[in-house]
Symmetry: C2
Subunit: 235 residues, 2 copies
């Protein structure tokens, strides 16, 4: 099997700093974890908050702490530091090579979409952000690692794209449409969803937008495949 991960990310229009932070780390027991955080508000303050939460989560995950405990700790840390006055959304996606599962931990009112050969599932049970309600817990979902599986995770800039013009993006409908075409590559999906959001916002995003697509696909026909990472960012 091959794991594909794609992230497409823009800042709010006329804002230099994104309040969204995406970090990735290897798990000491094999596999890796992705952390996506959206800090309250936008600009510099939001960046500081999202950095703080992402850093705490990455640090714990890299030491082998389990995802649920990591999300709780990230909440407790933010809550203690800011006295319950600052919030952030937190999603953790982990590929765990011990349990051979993909694990989604969600502290985010926005849903996550899971795509399997059985269809599209919207994980949308009520979920609280971290930082403001005492003893906040993540919602956790786990799926066996098998081919033709994808998750689509995002910050609220995606579903709110187009709101300003009264034509909000229908994220679920777009994901259903992508699913009909089959899971070709994580990158093409992340790029297409970002392009739709940018179009809905007339190329001037009203909020930071981050889209994370992970996909498990049948492996390439290569006896000794490489691991490849590519990042492109404006300076």
């Amino acid at each position: 099997m091959e794991l594909q991960i794609a992230v497409s990310k823009v800042t709010k229009w006329a804002s230099r700093e994104s309040g969204d932070t995406l970090e990735m780390i290897e798990r000491p027991t094999g596999g890796l974890s992705l952390v996506l955080v959206d800090g309250q508000h936008s600009g510099k303050g939001a960046k500081a908050v999202s950095n703080l939460v992402a850093r705490k989560a990455i640090s714990l995950l890299s030491e082998g702490v389990r995802d649920g405990a990591t999300a709780r700790a990230a909440h407790d840390y933010l809550f203690a530091l800011h006295g319950g006055k600052v919030q952030a959304t937190l999603n953790i996606v982990s590929f765990d090579m011990v349990s051979k599962t993909v694990v989604l931990s969600r502290n985010n009112p926005n849903p996550t979409y899971a795509l399997t050969p059985d269809g599209v599932t919207e994980w949308d049970e009520a979920s609280r952000p971290v930082g403001i309600y005492r003893h906040t817990k993540p919602l956790i979902k786990e799926l066996p690692l098998s081919p033709n599986l994808a998750l689509v995770v995002f910050t609220d800039g995606l579903p709110t794209a187009g709101h300003r013009r009264g034509r909000p993006l229908n994220v679920r409908a777009e994901i259903e449409r992508l699913y009909q075409g089959g899971i070709a590559s994580a990158q093409s999906w992340a790029d297409e969803l970002l392009a739709l959001a940018m179009a809905a916002d007339e190329q001037r995003p009203a909020d930071d937008i981050s889209i994370l697509v992970v996909a498990v696909l049948p492996g390439p026909d290569d006896s000794h495949p490489a691991r490849r990472l590519v990042l492109r960012m404006p300076l």
Copy 2:
């Protein structure tokens, strides 16, 4: 300007775990850092060592600790933990948005290549790995962030590729050749260097091979460019 980062990485033939670890993290003051570690030996033990060193470095960098202090701390930590008996190479490449420079910190006998409009420079001053000699320091180089700049960093699986067959890869000559063609994309260079190493090792790498190429190129013609990350890895 656009920053491009590409990593291509294979494990030693018939080895499940790579002793090389590559991690990337956002810097709290803007920009990002990449950490490439090669742990002593290969397989599980090497992975544990390289994870340990990479984790310590990433954790400090994410808190805003400067690169030189981070490399010293990673050394001290490994030295204290294993009493000077375990070594690892450590390279840190940072894009610092405050100083507007790219910073290379090297604890690695293998050279790093810097490509600028003035030509190819081999940074090959004697440099010690971390973990075994008391008070080991990194060698640090810094270049202003300007277009048409690239760095090529690698673990020793690249220069030793082909050794077994008595036809070692001439890394410098290959980089000079790539440079003649111009810096097109970081990804194509990382992939081409890996393909050459794989060919030299007859598709059965004698060691873990990791190649990191970073490039600063003129920016794309886009008023609000996105940040994009793509990872592909065998499961």
